[in-house]
Amino acid sequence: MAEEKLVESLIYAKPESLYPVGTHYCPGCTHGVAHRLIAEVIDELGVREETIGVAPVGCAVFAYNYFNMDFAEAAHGRAPAMATGIKRVSPDKIVFTYQGDGDLASIGMAEIIHAAARGENITVIFINNANYGMTGGQMAPTTLPGQKTTSSPLGRDVEMHGFPIRVAELLSQLDGAVYVVRRSLHSVANIRKAKKAIRQAFEVQQQGLGFSMVELLSSCPINWGLPPVEALQWIEDHMLPAYPLGDYKVHPAIAKKPTR
């Protein structure tokens, strides 16, 4: 059999939807993975020129420096409200928000619930890392019972601090939400599933079905006090039992093509 001529082909490089710059995220932080998945999906859908993102307050406050597309910066927790305005003025654009748990589940809880209840045709990417990363690892609404943070040094005491909020389950109860799922970024297989879910969420918006949200369990190695590799294991050991992965609401129009 004749030798087939082989050529070296570049099969993967940083997505076009990300600027070729370094990020300010800590080493091993899965914010970077989430950014890359969103950028890859936008590249694959070919909608970079039509996409407007809304950055939160939190670690991802500088997301507009990394995403190579139009971006707006919202006041703390108000990204869904700003995205609502942008989407209603420019319904032909793809509008997404990128929010952490301190932003979305605490100060922005009213905005996210009402945006979902109104069925705003936007996509929300929700990063759940069980603490306030940017300000130094304080207790967030998603902090696990017993988890030590800088503002709960003895561990979260549910008698005093209450229980964590499961956002995906909460929003799935609202009629306006049509695609609400939880994925994790702690392993290669889960990263692949997360990307499929993000793509599905953007396609839901393209089809005009309504509100879509992807919750991503994410690591915070520095504030958890763990090396990056052990932080991913911590997600699997501690966050997965408290925040089960799954599809909490899938619109019947897309339910025939499960993403898991």
């Binding site: 082909s9 570049l10 099969i11 370094g22 993975v33 290669v188 090396p227 991913l232």
Partner: protein, 83 residues
């Protein structure tokens, strides 16, 4: 001959070591003898037996999108994915 290779952009790599844990052939190691411009030990491909297949799993977990993947393919199938 290796089926593929990776290129780590050392201006982006932060030495988090996640890629070293997922390589199916355990070909990625941190170069403890060098520092990147940011001051981290960079990840590098250590592939003396040319076993890398260009599977891109390391690129999938890299939080900095610092890894580019090259693969040797038949000329007819070669497509320029990126510049």
């Amino acid at each position: 001959m290796a089926k593929g290779r990776i290129v780590v952009d050392e201006s982006l790599c932060k030495g988090c070591e996640l890629c070293t844990t997922v390589c199916p052939k355990d070909l990625i190691a941190m170069d403890k003898g060098r520092f990147t411009p940011k001051g981290y030990h960079p990840a590098e491909l250590v592939d003396p037996e040319e076993a890398c297949t260009g599977c891109a799993i390391c690129a999938l977990i890299c939080p900095e999108a610092a890894i580019s993947i090259y693969r040797w393919v038949p000329a007819a199938k070669a497509v320029g994915v990126a510049s």
